[in-house]
C-alpha cells in the first residue's frame, strides 16, 4: 500500500474543499472496498478525507412521500428500516443479498454506490486494464469474461457494476444529492453512472471532490409491489451473475406500469426501459413478461464466456415479474 495522508474535516464543505485541493485523493466512508483496492495498489490516493461522520446517518420522510437516505446510513440500517421494508421492499432485499452481515454493518449508502467493478483484471495490477490504467487495453475482452457485461460495453471495457443496492435504486428512480466544489446538485441515478465508452476509468459523472450527501427515493405508487432477485452460483457472499429489481402495477390483468433494472449485465445498473415500454398496457401474463425481457436483451452482445447471461436475464426478469403479487 502506498503511504497516504489521512485528513478529517469539520463538515461537508470542509471535506470537499480539502479534497478539491489535492491532485489525487478519495473520500473515505466505510472503506470496505476502497481499503482493499489500496492494499492491492489498484487505487493509490495521496490523501483520504474521512467523511464517515459528516453526512447524515438518518432516513427521513420527504414531504411528498418518499424517503431521504443520508449518505452515511449503513447498508444494514437501510435494509432494516421499516419504511424501506414496507414501501420499497426491493431495496431492502437488494441490500440483504449483498456482501455479508459484517460488511453491511460498515458499508455506507454513498460508498455502496461508488464501489468499483470486481473484474479480476481490474484487481490484478500485473495485467492490462483500461479502467485501472487508461490506454493499456482491456484484458477481459478476450479473456476470462464469464462475469462480464452483455449490454452497453465497449471494446475499451466490459466490466460490470457490482452493487445490488444501486440496481434497486435504479429501478426506483432514485436521485443522488451531491455537494462539490461547484455547489450542490441532484443527479438522477441513471445519470450518475456511465457506460464505459472510451473512458472506462470514469465510473460515474461525479466531478473530483464531489461528495454524495444523500439519496432521495421518490414516491412511487406501486413501489411496495417490488422485488429483488439475485442469481449466483453460491448461496451467499457472491456478486450477481445476473440480478433483477422489479416493481409492477397491474389493474384488471393489465400492466399499468413497471420498473425493471438489471445487475451484473453492464457497466452500470441497467434500466430496462424497452421492457417497461412494452409491458405498459400488456396483459400481465408470462408471455408478455418474456417478450418484454427478450426485447430488452435483443441488443445483448455476449463475450466468449458469458452467453449464458442472455437467457438467464430473460428467465430472471420473467420469473421476478411472475413472482410479484400482482404478476400472477
Amino acid at each position: 500500500m502506498k503511504p497516504f495522508r489521512y485528513e478529517r474535516a469539520e463538515d461537508v464543505s470542509g471535506a470537499v474543499a480539502t479534497l478539491a485541493g489535492e491532485r489525487t485523493g478519495e473520500f473515505l466512508a466505510g472503506g470496505t472496498n476502497l481499503v482493499d483496492l489500496m492494499k492491492l495498489e489498484v487505487m493509490r490516493p495521496d490523501v483520504l478525507v474521512d467523511v464517515r461522520r459528516l453526512t447524515s446517518a438518518e432516513i427521513e420522510d420527504l414531504p411528498a412521500g418518499g424517503l431521504r437516505i443520508g449518505a452515511a446510513v449503513t447498508n444494514s440500517e437501510l435494509a432494516a428500516d421499516t419504511r424501506v421494508r414496507s414501501r420499497y421492499p426491493v431495496l431492502s432485499q437488494a441490500l440483504l443479498s449483498g456482501a455479508s452481515g459484517q460488511l453491511r454493518n460498515v458499508a455506507t449508502t454513498g460508498g455502496n454506490l461508488l464501489q468499483r467493478t470486481r473484474c479480476a483484471y481490474f484487481y490484478d495490477t500485473t495485467t492490462p486494464c483500461n479502467k485501472r490504467k487508461p490506454g493499456t487495453g482491456c484484458s477481459a475482452l478476450e479473456g476470462c469474461n464469464s462475469g462480464h457485461a452483455i449490454l452497453g460495453a465497449s471494446r475499451h471495457c466490459v466490466a460490470t457494476h457490482p452493487s445490488d443496492m444501486a440496481v434497486a435504486l435504479t429501478a426506483l428512480d432514485a436521485v443522488i444529492r451531491t455537494q462539490g466544489p461547484a455547489g450542490e446538485r441532484e443527479i438522477p441515478i441513471t445519470g450518475l453512472y456511465r457506460l464505459p465508452g472510451q473512458e472506462p476509468e470514469r465510473d460515474t459523472t461525479l466531478e473530483h471532490a464531489e461528495l454524495i450527501t444523500a439519496v432521495d427515493l421518490p414516491p412511487l405508487e406501486f413501489s411496495s409491489n417490488s422485488r429483488y432477485r439475485k442469481v449466483r452460483e453460491r448461496a451467499s457472499y457472491a456478486f450477481a451473475l445476473v440480478s433483477v429489481a422489479a416493481a409492477l402495477q397491474v389493474r384488471e390483468g393489465v400492466v399499468l406500469d413497471a420498473r425493471i433494472a438489471l445487475g451484473g449485465v453492464a457497466h452500470r445498473p441497467w434500466r430496462a426501459r424497452k421492457a417497461e415500454d412494452l409491458l405498459r398496457g400488456a396483459p400481465a401474463v408470462e408471455e408478455s413478461f418474456r417478450a418484454a425481457a427478450e426485447a430488452e436483451l435483443a441488443d445483448a452482445v455476449p463475450l466468449r464466456d458469458n452467453a449464458y447471461k442472455v437467457p438467464l436475464a430473460v428467465n430472471v426478469i420473467t420469473r421476478t415479474l411472475l413472482d410479484l403479487p400482482e404478476g400472477r
Partner: protein, 693 residues
C-alpha cells in the same frame, strides 16, 4: 498400583483438548509467537511466466526508511542443494512461472516491506510461455510413477477386445479444473538465525519432514534446525515445504539475530504453494447384459511443472474399486510453465472418483439398474489390482446403510421428474475410497510424571484434525490410563520424530508408535513405574502389509435442487456412511467428514482457478472470486459409519479419515443434478451456465 480395565478412551466423543485455547485466541499460531523487534518479509513476484530477470532496480525500495535489505538472486546466500527447483528460491534469474519470487524486501514493518516491494522494478527477457492443458497436445508423456509410487499404467486382460464385445458400453470424458487449497491460516514462517542454529515457527503439516528437507537445501546439519508448529490452521496438502519457507530462512540468515516474519497474503496463496492439477479423464466401461463390468479403462491426463514433476494418481482408485476382468489405467502429463502442482485433499481419489463415479451412474442407467444395485453387482471379492484379499471392505454395507438412511428406496430413477415450485429435485449416489497409508519413521516417547500421569511426546501435527485429542485417547488405552492423565506434546522437532500429516496417515503412523512405546514402557517399567521412568519406540512395519489390500470405503448420497429458471444448484442434504475401521473420536471424526464433504461440495459447484493463458497465472486469486461454500451452501449432513473391526491395519484398528469425506461428494452431487434436470455435467464445477436450457 494394580491394573484396572477402564472404559476405553478410543471411541469416546471427547471435546477437542485445544478447543478452549482456539476459541479464546490463545493457541499460538506461527505468526503469533512474540518477539522483540521482528523484521517482516514481503516478496516481489514475477510478472512474466517464462524468461530471465535481466535487471532489478531496488534503489527506490532501499531508500525507504525502515527497509533493511532487498534480496535478489544476486544478493541472496547460495543454497547447498538446488536440485529441487521449486525450493531453489532466488538462486538464479530464471523465471519458471508467473508469480515466482524474484526478489524480497525485509523491513521493520509489514507495511513498509509491502510498499517497498511494490517499488522494486524488475526487467525481464521474456520468452513465450505454455500453460494450457489439452488432451490433444503432442507432448504428453508417461511419468515413471504416479504419486507417491504407483505404477503409471496398468493392464490386465485385453481391454480393447472385452470392450468391443460388451453388451453395454460407455465412453465419456470428464474434466476437473485447477483447484487451490486455502487453509484459513496462510503459509507462515517466523525464522530466527542465531549464527549457528535456525529456528522456525512454521505453519506446517510435518515439522520433521520439512526440517530434513530444509537442512539439506541449506546445507545444515539437521540438529541445527528446529521447527515448532504446535497449532496449524489447516493444510489440506499445501503445507509442506515450498519456496516461501526457504525464502524466510535465507532472509533470516542475511539479517542474523533478527526474527523474520513471512505470512503469505491470500493472493499469494494462489502461486507457489501448490494446487490440484486440472484433469482430463476418459472413462470407458463395458458391461455384460447382466450389468456386470467386463471392461474398465481409465485414462487420465494432468499437468505438471517443467521444473519439477508431480503426477496426480487420478486413475489409481479405478484399479481397486470394482470387479471386471479386463482393465487398463494410464496417466499422462503435460509439463507446463506453471507452479508445481501438489497434494490437495485426496489427490488422485478426489478428481479420479468424480470421473469414475459419474461414469458408474451413467452406466447404471444404461444397464437399466439402480445405481446402488449396479455397484453392488460389481463388488469384487478380492482386490482386482493386487489379487490380495481386503483387510476389510464394507462398501456394500455403506451403500445399503446409506440408502436406508437417505430414503433411497422410494426413488424414481427417471430424471427431470420431481419439481418443488421452481426447484427441480434429484438425488444421486457415489462411492468413496481411500487407501490406508502408513509412513515409516514415527517414534514416540512416554515418560511417567508420577501421580498416575504420563507424558507422551511425538512430533505429530494437528492441522485442525483433532490430533491433540485423538493421540491422547490412543495413549490412554495403550497405557490403560485415564485420558485426563495423559499429557501430550506434539508439533516440535525437539520431540521424537514423526511422519507428515498427509495421506490420512497420521493416526495410523503416530498411533502405532505410541502403542509400541506404551508396550515398551510396560515391558520395562511394569504397572508401578517410578517418576521419570521412560521408554521410546518406533512404529513397527505392518506385518500384514503384503497380505492384504487395505482401504477405507464409503458411500455418499446427495439431494440436489436446481432452479429451473436460473440453473442455480443447492444441496439441502447429504448422507454419507463410511467404513473406516475404528473411529478414535466420533466428535472430531464427524467434523473431519463434514469438512471433507463441504470441500467436495465446493469442488462440485464452486471451485475453479481461472488461468488466462495469455498471462499464465490464476486470476481469481482471492476469496471474493475463488468461491468455496459459504455456510448458506451447506445443508444437513447425515453422517454415519459402519462398526468395522479390522485387526490388520494397525494396533488401533483405525483407517485414516482426513480425506475420504471429499472423495465421493462431487460425483454424488453431479449424479443428483442429472437426476434433477436430465443434464449430465461432466466438467466441474457445475455452474448455472451449464444448466440453463
Amino acid at each position: 498400583m494394580t491394573t484396572i480395565t477402564k472404559r476405553p478412551a478410543i471411541g469416546a466423543p471427547l471435546d477437542r483438548r485445544d478447543g478452549p485455547q482456539k476459541v479464546t485466541g490463545t493457541a499460538p499460531y506461527a505468526y503469533e509467537h512474540h518477539f522483540d523487534k521482528p523484521l517482516y518479509l514481503f516478496p516481489v513476484q514475477s510478472e512474466v511466466a517464462r524468461g530471465r530477470v535481466t535487471r532489478i532496480d531496488a534503489s527506490a525500495a532501499e531508500a525507504l526508511p525502515g527497509v533493511v535489505t532487498v534480496l535478489t538472486h544476486d544478493s541472496t546466500p547460495r543454497l547447498a542443494d538446488t536440485s529441487d527447483h521449486e525450493l531453489a528460491v532466488l538462486q538464479a534469474g530464471d523465471v519458471a512461472f508467473r508469480g515466482q519470487y524474484v526478489a524480497a524486501v525485509v523491513a521493520q514493518t509489514l507495511e513498509t516491506a509491502r510498499y517497498a516491494a511494490s517499488l522494486v522494478r524488475v526487467s525481464y527477457d521474456e520468452e513465450p510461455h505454455d500453460v494450457e492443458l489439452r488432451a490433444d497436445r503432442d507432448d504428453l508423456y508417461a511419468p515413471e510413477v504416479v504419486n507417491p509410487d504407483y505404477p503409471t499404467d496398468t493392464q490386465e486382460g485385453d481391454f480393447d477386445r472385452a470392450f468391443a464385445a460388451a453388451a453395454v458400453r460407455l465412453d465419456e470424458t470428464y474434466t476437473t479444473p485447477m483447484e487451490h487449497h486455502n487453509p484459513m491460516e496462510p503459509h507462515t514462517t517466523v525464522a530466527l538465525w542465531d549464527g549457528s542454529d535456525l529456528t522456525l515457527y512454521e505453519s506446517t503439516q510435518g515439522p520433521h519432514w520439512i526440517r530434513g528437507t530444509l537442512a539439506q537445501v541449506l546445507g545444515l546439519d539437521q540438529d541445527r534446525v528446529r521447527v515448532i508448529a504446535p497449532y496449524v490452521g489447516g493444510g489440506f496438502g499445501s503445507k509442506t515445504l515450498h519456496a516461501n519457507t526457504v525464502l524466510a530462512a535465507l532472509a533470516a540468515q542475511v539479517v542474523e539475530g533478527s526474527p523474520v516474519k513471512f505470512a503469505l497474503t491470500r493472493q499469494q496463496m494462489f502461486s507457489g504453494v501448490g494446487y490440484r492439477t486440472p484433469t482430463i479423464q476418459r472413462i470407458r466401461l463395458g458391461a455384460d447384459s447382466g450389468g456386470r463390468l467386463i471392461a474398465v479403462c481409465h485414462d487420465a491426463i494432468m499437468q505438471t511443472a517443467k521444473t519439477k514433476e508431480f503426477a496426480e494418481q487420478a486413475a489409481v482408485p479405478t484399479r481397486t474399486m470394482y470387479a471386471g476382468q479386463s482393465r487398463r489405467t494410464t496417466h499422462r502429463l503435460a509439463a507446463l510453465d506453471v507452479p508445481v502442482p501438489t497434494w490437495m485433499r485426496a489427490p488422485g481419489e478426489a478428481p479420479g472418483m468424480f470421473a469414475l463415479e459419474s461414469a458408474m451412474d451413467e452406466m447404471a442407467i444404461s444397464c437399466g439398474l439402480d445405481p446402488v444395485e449396479f455397484r453392488i453387482r460389481n463388488e469384487p471379492e478380492i482386490d482386482p489390482e493386487t489379487g490380495l484379499p481386503y483387510s476389510s471392505r464394507n462398501l456394500v454395507a455403506c451403500l445399503l446403510e446409506g440408502a436406508r438412511r437417505f430414503g433411497w428406496a422410494d426413488r424414481n430413477p427417471q430424471p427431470h421428474l420431481r419439481q418443488d415450485g421452481r426447484w427441480q429435485v434429484g438425488t444421486g449416489v457415489a462411492s468413496s475410497e481411500f487407501p490406508v497409508v502408513r509412513f515409516a519413521g514415527s517414534v514416540a516417547r512416554i515418560s511417567y510424571l508420577g501421580s498416575g500421569r504420563y507424558l507422551v511426546a511425538i512430533d505429530a501435527s494437528d492441522i485442525g484434525t483433532g490430533t491433540w485429542t485423538a493421540l491422547a485417547q490412543i495413549a490412554a488405552d495403550a497405557l490403560d490410563a485415564d485420558v485426563d492423565n495423559i499429557d501430550l506434546r506434539i508439533g516440535d522437532t525437539s520431540l521424537p520424530e514423526a511422519s507428515v500429516a498427509g495421506g490420512s496417515s497420521g493416526i495410523t503412523s503416530w498411533g502405532s508408535a505410541i502403542v509400541e512405546a506404551a508396550r515398551a514402557f510396560r515391558d520395562r517399567h511394569g504397572h508401578n513405574p517410578a517418576e521419570g521412568d521412560q521408554a521410546e519406540a518406533s512404529a513397527p512395519e505392518n506385518p500384514y502389509a503384503n497380505n492384504y489390500a487395505m482401504h477405507a470405503f464409503g458411500a455418499c448420497f446427495a439431494e440436489a435442487r436446481v432452479d429451473a429458471d436460473t440453473g442455480e444448484v443447492r444441496v439441502p442434504r447429504m448422507t454419507a456412511v463410511f467404513a473406516a475401521g475404528r473411529i478414535i473420536n466420533p466428535k472430531t471424526a464427524r467434523s473431519q467428514f463434514i469438512g471433507g464433504m463441504t470441500m467436495g461440495l465446493g469442488m462440485a459447484l464452486h471451485e475453479e482457478s481461472l488461468v488466462d493463458p495469455r498471462f499464465g497465472h490464476v486470476l481469481n486469486h482471492d476469496f471474493a472470486s475463488y468461491h468455496i461454500p459459504a455456510n448458506a451452501d451447506t445443508g444437513q449432513f447425515d453422517i454415519a459409519w459402519i462398526d468395522e473391526e479390522d485387526p490388520y491395519v494397525n494396533p488401533m484398528g483405525s483407517k485414516g479419515i482426513g480425506e475420504i469425506g471429499i472423495v465421493g461428494t462431487a460425483a454424488a452431487i453431479a449424479n443428483a443434478v442429472y437426476h434433477a434436470t436430465g443434464i449430465r455435467v461432466r466438467d466441474l464445477p457445475i455452474t448455472p451456465a451449464k444448466l440453463l436450457r
